[in-house]
Structure formats: C-alpha cells, structure tokens
C-alpha cells in the first residue's frame, strides 16, 4: 500500500491508497460530521452530511466514500459546507415528525446531536405533520417511520451483517419508507430473526426495542461495561448498560468486528431481562413442599452430611453447567475430581461433547486442530451444513452463513434429515436419513470415484469440487454418531483447504464454554443415565433450560443440591438444598469461544448481599467434609486441541475404529 500525503483543513495527513477522506481525517483527529456512515457497514454517501470541498473542484465530495489522492487539499469546515449541512438537517427535521420532547431517544439521538452541533435552532420550512406508519406489529421491535431519516443503516446491517435482508425500502420519492420483506409489517415478516441489530444502529428514535426503550437512554446509564454474551459458544462481545443496578440494555460491541456487532435474539433480550428475574439470595433448605431460609453454615453442613455416605458408596454425582467460566470450571474440577476424587462428574452437554471428541480423535492424534474460528465462514466460498440448525444452535453462525452466501456469493449445500434451515438460499439441498448420511459423506469425499453418483448429489459435488475455500458446519445432532463427525472431517480434509488455525470445520457445540469443560468437568462416560444416585450436586447458571435427560436424573437422585443464581423452575423443585451463586453479570472469567479465542467476561454489576463466590463455597464445603481444596490438576482450555501439526498435513482416516 503506497502512502498518500494530503492536507485536511491545513493539517498534513498521511493515508494509504484506498483510504477514504473520512478514514484519514478520523485517523488524524479531524472531525467530520456523519449520519448515515457507520463503521463496518458499506459507506453509501447518502445523508450528505460528510460533504467536504477539495481545492480545485467545485464538486462536493462525500468524505465517507471518496478515496484520497496524493496532494489533495481538503476543507471540511467552510461556510458553504456548514450551510449545506444545516440545510440537510433542516430538511430532515421538517421532513418527518421529529419532535424531540416526545421521543424516547432524545439525548441518545444522533440527528439531535448534529442539530445542536450545527446550531440549528429553527427550521425555515413549515413542518409537514405527515402521517407515516408507526409499526407496532412486532412484540419486541417498534418501528416509527415518522422518525426515520432513511440513513439505511438498519437495511445495511440487516443484509450485510445478519444476512436476513428483512429490511429494504419501498416506494419512491417523498414517501420512501423502510419496509420488511416485500411490504410487510415487521411483525409479520417471515425472514426477521428478531436480533434487534436494526435498533442498535438506528441513529434516531425510529427503531426501538420495547424492553429497553423507557428503561434508560444510553446517556442516562450509570455505567457501560464491555463483556461477553455467555449464551452460546460464539461468545459475542457486548456492551452492557447499567442503570440503578440493573442491566437495561445490551449492544454488540462494534459493527467493525467480524460479527458486525450483532447479537442474536437470545443475547439481546435474555441478558438484560435476567437482571429482573427472581433471585436466589440466601441458602435454602427444603421443608416439605417448600423451602426455608438457612445460614451458609447450616446449608453447607447439611450438604456435607448427605454427601459423605454417598461418596463412600460411590453414589454421589456432580452435574456442572458448561456455561460457566474457565475459572469456575477449574474450581468445580478441583473440588469434585481432585479433592473429593469423584468419578461421576459431568456437564449437562456431556454426551454431545463426548460425541464430538470421539469423532475428532483421529485428527487430534495427528496433532491437527479439528476445527476453525466460526467467522471463517465469512471467508469461504462453499459452505456445507451437515444436519445443523445454526439459527437455534448459535444464531450468529447462521448470520455468517447467510452473509457469506448472499453477499459473499458462497455456495450453500445443506445435508439434513429434517428441514432445511436455509430454505431459499441453498444451492443444493440433500435430505438423507441418518443411515444414509455416511455413504453420502463418503461419496462427496471421493468425488464420485467410488461409482455412480445420484443425480441430486452431483450438484453438491460440483460445488465442493469448484470451491477454493469450502467449510463444513457440523450440527450438534451429528455428535450422536461420532463416526459421522469423523467422516465430515475426512471430507473437510479431502477438500484440502484448511484455514491457518485448523481444519475448515465449525462444530455446533451447544454450551458456551464446551471447550473449557472438556478438561475439567466433562466425564468419561454417561453415568447420568445409569442407575440412581444418593447425592447429586448440580451447578446451573440459570441461563438456559435444563434438558430432560438431566432433569430425569435429578428426579431419581435421593438428595439434590442445586447451585443457581435464579429461582429457575423446574430446577428448584428438584432441590433439597439451594445455594445461591453470582449471576452472569456479577461474575468475571474467561470463555473459550467458537471464534477461536479466549474471551473475558467482566463484572457488570457487583454482587450484593449474602452471595459468595464459587471458589469460597467450594472451599468451605471441602472444609466441612474435612478436606482441603486441592489445586486443580487440569486447566481449562489448556492443551485442548492445540495445533501441533499444520492443518494441511491432516490425513484422511478410516472410520472403522470410531464408534
């Protein structure tokens, strides 16, 4: 990249070939007002607020789209430009019904900020008071078109980052409005994934999220904390807004990042709403059909009392949520495995994880990292979705797939036993029963060399053959048959185009810190289904519903201790002792994400009252049992699929040895 020197407002600035005037100006701390521009979205130069003058030209250039050239002399604050900008603001204000005192976003609004900045104290045109639609059809998202300035940010984020392309424009001229699908109200949209990204990027009060709208504007909040969303293995980076001790709003961190600053519907709504849920504040002990409050000392003594005989008879188990941080998992592991020497320790998603691990094993043995960062889907030109439903499993991965397919023009092949989760955008759609899956994967790998290929498979085959950077997405369902996982990896190896960090495979782990759980709490086998237990210790984060498999085991166990931050039903009904733990916003720690990096979770709201950290609880419990909490023998994420060999050295394996 060749360096370019230019002068902006008399200041000599340096930029690179391909940079826009705005980029160079910002890098050099020259302020240019913008409205439709947003980092990470395609600049469209539509609002005209960023117009600048270039010496020697009468034309006005939009700074957000005009590339810099050597020797340019740019002026950003001439009287003429200020007049233009003010004119635009007046047109926008008088154009629709922008009455700040009635708007929930007043104070947060970028249009309002610009108007104040430009001293726009009056509008020279009469207001039109036109009656645009206020679309309240969606239970979560409200769209008041009267406040829309058509910056098209929502449309761009919806298509460029979420890949849903729910929003676009309808009509022309004066009455042009944002619409969903082909002229639907948002609530009736079939494509909307209710992720709320549109509201996050809206500069005015047009698109708002009902849950947050009157709980506090961004500027009213006491603090903003960067942390991560612990709900799925993507681990999106978020900013949590806190007001009077509650999380009132969460937003994706940056539209410029790979995930585009989007959140899925889970992260957007579950996280803030969880601060309003009923908390478990003190330890409780069951008394008949209800609970009574107890002191920590009493509760832990009771736990120890029940645990001791069960340990001796080998009928004590521990079920640990994999949504926990690495640090929490390490504490649990050190307590149950190293201190209490229990063998019946597992995570809620143990079976699924073991399935994947088993399938990965032949490749792990080769020293190859058997998967890659999920955002690599955006770089691939062919995506094979194997029995997956990413919109359910990890919704942002579904966004990656849609964006890569629609914007990046990658080919999309779906192989599933059930419905096609990407109906309408798949290039090849193969429906097979579980039994036929293996043969199909082999046929795809061998490229038809093994004999005649059915007609419908040919299309998929062509796509994989023609792809330079194919990627395979493994559904969580696939983990039930490790052999298929191995075959899927074989196929990825055969395609011969791994990413730098591992094979071109994205597994849909269900729990957010599955990789952290592998070394620590995931057991060697499924003891949960076997026989009854005298004692079961359950650690839940209360963020996702427990599966029936685990609930059944709890029903069968004689004595159940449940550690949870929330009064989650039906979990609490299973308990004999309830122990409170900090909720997601009161904890810090690390998660090993699908994106391939270890991300930090921070304390958003400090824990209040009688809460104890997990480390303290386990240490006290160990003392009650007459032990000292041992150092953890394994560290989470350590040595978990660390690449020892380059991914392009991976060899295809036979699946005979795999179960």
């Amino acid at each position: 990249m060749s360096e370019i020197t230019l002068v902006i407002d008399g200041v000599e600035c340096k930029g690179s070939q391909g940079d826009t005037i705005l980029q160079v100006a910002r890098a050099n701390d020259v302020y240019i007002p913008t409205l439709c521009f947003m980092d990470g979205l395609t600049p469209i130069g539509s609002c005209r607020m960023c117009v600048v003058e270039a010496e020697g030209s009468n034309k006005l250039l939009t700074a957000c789209t005009s590339p810099v050239t050597e020797g340019m002399k740019i002026l950003t604050k001439t009287d003429r430009l200020i007049q233009y900008r003010r004119q635009i603001l007046e047109l926008l204000f008088a154009g629709r019904n922008h009455f700040c005192m009635f708007c929930s976003q007043s104070g947060d609004c970028e249009l309002q900020r610009l108007a104040i900045e430009h001293g726009m104290d009056s509008v020279r045109y009469p207001f039109l008071y036109s009656d645009f639609h206020n679309d309240a059809s969606d239970p979560n998202i409200q769209v008041d078109h009267n406040r829309c300035i058509l910056c098209l940010r929502c449309i761009r984020v919806c298509s460029e980052k979420v890949g849903a392309h729910t929003l676009d424009l309808e009509k022309r001229g004066w009455g042009t409005t944002v619409t969903a699908d082909l002229g639907q109200q948002l609530g009736k949209s079939e494509t909307c994934v209710t992720c709320g990204a549109c509201a996050q990027v809206c500069p005015t009060g047009t698109i708002t999220l009902r849950d947050f709208v009157y709980r506090g504007r961004r500027t009213d909040c006491d603090s903003q904390v960067e942390t991560l969303c612990p709900l799925c293995p993507v681990g999106c980076k978020i900013k949590a807004y806190v007001r009077t001790g509650s999380v009132v709003r969460v937003e994706g961190l940056s539209t410029a990042s790979a995930d585009g600053g989007q959140l899925c519907s889970k992260g957007r709504w579950w996280l803030p709403s969880s601060t309003e849920r009923e908390r478990l504040a003190v330890p409780m002990i069951r008394e008949g059909s209800s609970f009574r409050e107890a002191s920590w000392d009493e509760a832990l003594s009771l736990v120890a009392e029940k645990m001791t005989p069960a340990l001796e008879s080998g009928k004590a188990g521990a079920l640990i949520s994999e949504i926990s941080t690495d640090e929490e998992l390490a504490v649990m592991s050190s307590f149950f495995r190293d201190t209490m020497k229990m063998d019946k320790v597992d995570g809620f998603y143990g079976n699924q994880l073991r399935g994947f691990v088993e399938g990965f094993k032949p490749f792990a043995r080769q020293g190859v990292r058997p998967f890659t960062g999920a955002h690599h889907i955006l770089e691939s030109d062919a995506i094979l979705v194997l029995d997956a439903d990413p919109q359910e499993e990890a919704p942002v991965v579904a966004s990656y797939i849609r964006v890569s397919t629609i914007i990046g023009r990658a080919k999309l092949v779906n192989v599933s036993s059930g419905k096609n989760p990407f109906e309408g955008i798949t290039d090849a759609d193969l429906r097979v029963s579980g039994k036929e899956m293996k043969a199909l994967l082999v046929a795809l790998r061998e490229g038809g060399a093994g004999g005649a290929v059915p007609e419908n498979v040919k299309g998929a085959l062509e796509i994989l053959k023609g792809a330079k950077k194919p990627i395979v997405v493994l559904g969580s369902n696939l983990a039930k048959t490790p052999e298929l996982v191995t075959e899927a990896l074989n196929l990825a190896v055969a395609c011969g185009a791994p990413f730098d960090d591992g094979l071109a495979v994205v597994p849909m782990f269900l729990a957010s810190n599955s990789l952290g759980a592998l070394n620590t709490v995931t057991g060697g086998k499924d003891w949960l289904s076997e026989g009854d237990l005298d004692f079961l210790y359950v650690h839940s984060t209360g963020m996702v519903d427990e599966d029936t498999h685990s609930l059944n085991a709890m029903t069968r166990a004689r004595f159940v201790v449940v550690q949870t931050p929330f009064m989650v039903h039906p979990l609490v009904q299973m308990a004999d002792v309830l122990l409170p733990v900090p909720a997601w916003f009161e904890r810090s720690g690390h998660y090993c994400t699908l994106e391939g990096d270890r991300r930090k979770m921070n304390v958003v709201v400090p824990p209040q009252g009688n809460l104890k950290g997990l480390g303290v609880i386990m240490k006290e419990l160990a003392a009650k049992l007459g032990r000292t909490l041992q150092e953890a023998s394994t560290a989470p994420c350590e040595n978990v699929y660390v690449a020892k060999a380059a991914p392009d050295k991976a060899q295809i394996v036979t699946t005979k040895e795999v179960r």
């Binding site: 005209r48 020279r124 009509k171 022309r172 004066w174």
Partner: protein, 597 residues
C-alpha cells in the same frame, strides 16, 4: 430469391400500431391476394418513421410515395389506384404548403429533408424481424470488419476519432469510456445497453429497438470486442413490450446465424446477450442504479468512485451506453470515423435524435446533425407552432433539462452550448411551448415528476425537491410570497450541488432556467395573483363579455358547476365564486364571448 416489382412499407412502430397499422397490413395482404398481386408486391412492416403524429404511415417503393393516416378502409383504394392502375392517391398524401399542396415523396417532406438519419438509418426501411434485411443494409459488416482486421485498441482509437459522445445525456466521449473499461483488469467484463428510457415524451430508444434491433446488438458486440467483454445486458423498460419482443426475435435470429454465441465468425470472440426488463423507475436510467437493478437489488444510485469501468455489474468491469450510442457504433465502423466526425460541431460530432413534442405542428422523432439551430428543428422540421400561435419556450433534455427562450432559438445545438444556457442535451426530449403555456406550471410539472421518481436515498433529492414543489404549488395557487423565490433558488442550487446522483443534480434545472428566463411570470403569479398564460386554474377568472354574448344558453347548459346565469337572448353572467375554471364555457361559446384573464 423472389423479386417484387413493388414494396409497401407499413410502419409497425408503437405509435402506428396503436393507430391501427396491424389491420392495415392484414388488409393489404388480403387485398393483394384477392387481386392476385401478392407475388408481385410485398408488404413489409417496418420500424418507426418518426412522424408518429401522422400514423399509420405507408410508403410505397420504388416510387417512395408517402401516405399518412392510412386506415384499413383506405387500403382497397390504394391497391386499386396506386398498385393496380399506377395512379398515386393524393388524398392520403402529406399536405404541404401553398406552393406545393401535396407532397408525394418521402424526401421532399420538410420533416425529413433536413434530417440526417444514422442511428435511425434503418427505421422505417427494413423489417425489424428479419435479419436478412438488416444484413442487406450493411448490417454486421462493421462487426465483420472489426473481427477480421482490427485489434481492440484500433477499435477504441476509431471510436475516439469519431468523436461520438454518450447519447444518454451526459455526453461523455464513448471511445474514452471504452478505453477505461478496456484498461481495467478482470477475467469477466460486461457491456450493458441502457434502454430504460424514462423521460416523459422521449421515445428514440424505443423506436431504434423496435425498428432496428440488430444495430444495437451489433454495436454492443463491437464494444464487447474492444473492451474484452463476453456478456451483455440490455436493460429495457417493461413498458416497451414491442421493443422487447423484437429484441428477442433479433437475438434468436443472430444466434441462429452464428452471429451471437461462441466463436463468432470463426474467431475467438464469443458473446451472449440477455434482456433484463426494468420495472419502470426513472432512476434506473442512472448507471449505478441500473446495475443494482440488474443484480436484483432495489435500483438506487451509489456514489462513484468506484466507476463501473472498474467495478460495475457484480463488481466486474462494465461499460454502459445508451441505445442510441450503441446504434451509431456499427455505422461508424462501416463508414469510418472520418465520415462520422465530418458531421456536427467542433466538440459534438455526428447526429442526435430528438423527440419533438408539444405545441409544434409535426411532432415525432427527428435525427439532425449537431450544430443545427433550434429554430431549424422547431420551425423547418417541426413546421412551426400549432395554430400559428407565438413561440414561448422549448424545454430540452427531459425533466432534468431546462427551458430556453426565443433568444436562444439560433443557438447551435451541442452539448456545450446547451449546458452553457442552463439546459442539457439529456436524452433528447424537445417540448415546444407556446404563449398558452405557463412556465411556473411547467417547472411544477417536471418537478412533480422528478420528486416522485427520487429513489429516496439522499435528503436533497428526496426532501429538497418536495419542498421546492410545495413552493411552486403555493405560487401557482396564488399564495406565493416574494421571499419564496429566494428560498426556491437557494434550495434549488443546493439540491443541484448536494445531491448524490444525476437525477437530483439536474432536478432543479427546470426551476432554475424558468426562474432565470421567465422570472416575470413568477412575479406575476405572486404579486398580481395572475397567470399570464391563463394556465393556472386557481389564478384565472372567466367572464362573459355582455356586448358579444348572444344569449344562446349553451354555456349555462354545459357548465358542470351550474354557475352561469342568464335569460335566453340576454347576456349571461358567470359566478366567479362558484366557477371551477374548467373552461367548458369558453370551448362551447359560438361567438367567443367568454374570456379568461
């Protein structure tokens, strides 16, 4: 090959088809068969002759006798008299001036005698559905010449030497544009034909596509060869079904002859072409919006750079030219750049097709050499103002163009001269206005159009034009204020400089030129509350001159608002309060007693 002693050419353009030319063709066929003349005389349906106002048009060769307004019922007489007995039917001929009451021949009609038909060379001469007729008139010769003996660089040099400039409006030198796309690196390139003719009143592109579709295809192929493209799109508005149908036929025939497809004429050059039907948005004539529309997205312009030559359709290097531009290309290749550049002015070479409409005697399509004056077009070719009223203004370049006055009639037509006067060449719409046209109303009309057609992307175009329109509406309703004119002018200038694309940048032109040349009319609307042309209904007043009125009661009987009172044989009176200014009374008055002011 069958030899015919005579050819009857019947116009099959949209205008003449709606005038009944299909029936005329059938009737000729029947009549000739009945007289057993069908082996001697061939009936051909052709493209547009340009003089649509006089359609359906029939030309009989070899004499070149020109008949107009021919109906089905005239056919028997024409065959009987002209074909059978050899006596041309003067009744159906063009009515000329006093010294020449009947003009029998095509070339003698003043409408045609000053024209120089290059882009329209074949329109009206050949059957557009027959590739052989196109080939017989040197069709695909240019392509043959290019493929057999010229390098792409030579083709571009030839185009540059010809001086051809984009006929879509902006007038960018075609050869230069091609050289950008040719220089752009890429394994895949596209050539695109912009046939999204959206200007109200303009129909030159439609006529070319309907009358001579092959020349557009050939032009695109020559361009594709020069720029290294192998695929083309013709973006044609869906409101042109006949053009689309003829294009489809032409493409199928060219494919059958091996003139489209792989290894054309035995060379390495391959080319395929697709038709994309537009959905009727004016803004899709803007090249970046057009490409977005082909890609299946909403047709909205985007800022340039990147220019289409570097990143166009599907981000591949692309070149867009309009129909008329492409149509000129084969002829330049056959006859040479020198021939083409010998016509026109210093900087604007060749010819331009104009759609002449409005208050002019002969409306229609005219192709004239650049450098001709507006007076020649309007008065010599167009035959002057309808009903010999007084010429007032001419609007050039469609809704984005400007209004020029009597003072500009002797200006030579070229890209530079029109831009200097505040109008634009545009796609070539020429709307002639007489003394009964109100210039504020005209500005309002065109602004209403662009305001409705704004894609909605940038505030200046979307809201600015709306606010300008509101001011004009106020003025024409008699509610204007003098300071409105300043606001209007200020806003217009900002919309012109501040808008994203050509639509917004040129939208204020009708307002700015009328403000410049007809400011007194604006002032009359505001200060005197009067419309000098009597066109703005809110400002006119109908009254009956009691000295002239004979009391026939016709006006009262025809008044839809029942606001005219009066006894039989006594002068009538109009109640101005109730009057809805429909003008019925003025129309029906047998003695001209109703006046408007």
């Amino acid at each position: 090959m069958q030899i015919y002693r005579s050819h009857i050419l019947v116009c099959g353009g949209t205008g003449c088809v709606s005038g009944g030319s299909k029936d005329v063709i059938d009737e000729f066929q029947k009549e000739l068969e009945r007289r057993k003349l069908d082996k001697e005389v061939l009936v051909v349906h052709t493209g547009c002759h340009g003089m649509c106002e006089l359609g359906p048009i029939v030309v009989v060769y070899p004499e070149g006798t020109f008949y107009c307004r021919v109906q089905k019922t005239d056919v028997a007489e024409l065959v009987e008299e002209h074909i059978y007995k050899g006596r041309p039917v003067s009744r159906l001929m063009y009515a000329g001036s006093e010294e020449m009451p009947v003009v029998p021949h095509y070339k003698e009609i003043p409408f045609y005698s000053k024209q120089e038909r290059i882009a329209l060379a074949n329109c009206g001469y050949i059957n557009p559905d027959n590739i052989d007729e196109y080939i017989a008139r040197r069709g695909y010769e240019g392509l043959g010449k290019v493929l057999s003996g010229m390098t792409p660089a030579q083709v571009i040099d030839e185009m540059k030497a010809s001086g051809l400039r984009g006929r879509g409006g902006a007038g960018f030198p075609t050869g230069l544009k091609w050289s950008f796309c040719a220089a752009s690196k890429g394994d895949k390139k596209y050539v695109i034909c912009n046939a999204d003719e959206g200007d109200p009143g303009a129909f030159m592109d439609r006529s070319i596509l309907e009358g001579d579709p092959h020349c557009v295809i050939e032009g695109m192929m020559i361009g594709a060869y020069a720029m290294g493209a192998d695929e083309g799109y013709i973006y044609c508005r869906a409101e042109y079904p006949l053009a689309i149908q003829r294009l489809k036929t032409a493409i199928a025939q060219a494919e059958e002859y091996g003139l489209l497809g792989q290894n054309i004429m035995g060379t390495d050059f391959s080319f395929t072409v697709h038709i994309k039907e537009g959905a009727g948005a004016f803004v899709c004539g803007e090249e970046t919006a057009l490409m977005a529309s082909i890609e299946g997205r909403r047709g909205m312009p985007r800022p340039r750079p990147p220019f289409p030559a570097n990143s166009g359709l599907w981000e591949k290097p692309s070149n867009i030219n309009n129909v008329e531009t492409w149509a000129n290309v084969p002829r330049i290749m056959v006859n040479g750049a020198e021939w083409y550049s010998s016509m026109g002015t210093d900087k604007s070479k060749g010819t331009k097709v104009f759609a002449l409409t409005g208050k002019v005697k002969h409306t229609g399509l005219v192709e004239v050499p650049m450098g001709i004056t507006l007076r020649e077009i309007i008065f010599d070719i167009g035959g002057g103002i309808l009903d010999d009223k007084k010429f007032k203004a001419v609007q050039i370049g469609g809704p984005s163009g400007g209004c020029l006055t009597e003072d500009h009639l002797d200006a030579k037509v070229s890209y530079e001269s029109l831009t200097a006067l505040g109008a634009i060449m545009g796609s070539g719409g020429l709307v002639v206005m007489d003394e009964t046209t109100c210039m504020v109303d005209v500005a309002k009309f065109f602004l209403t159009f662009v305001q409705k057609e704004s894609c909605g992307k940038c505030p200046f175009c979307r809201i600015g034009t709306k606010r300008m329109l509101e001011i004009l509406e106020r003025i024409t309703a008699g509610e204007g204020k003098m300071e409105d004119l300043d606001t209007l002018e200020q806003l217009a200038l900002m919309v012109r400089t501040g808008s994203l694309c050509g639509l917004g940048q040129t939208a204020p032109n009708p307002v700015l030129t009328t403000l410049k040349y007809f400011r007194d009319e604006y002032v009359a609307h505001i200060k005197d509350k009067k419309c000098p042309a009597g066109a703005c209904t809110a400002l006119v007043k109908y009254s009956i001159d009691p000295a002239v009125c004979i009391g026939c009661t016709k006006c009262a009987r025809n008044c839809p608002a029942s606001c005219i009172a009066g006894e039989v044989k006594k002068p009538h009176v109009i109640d101005s309060e109730k009057c809805i200014r429909c003008g019925n009374c003025k129309e029906v008055c047998p003695v001209g007693a109703v006046s408007v002011e």
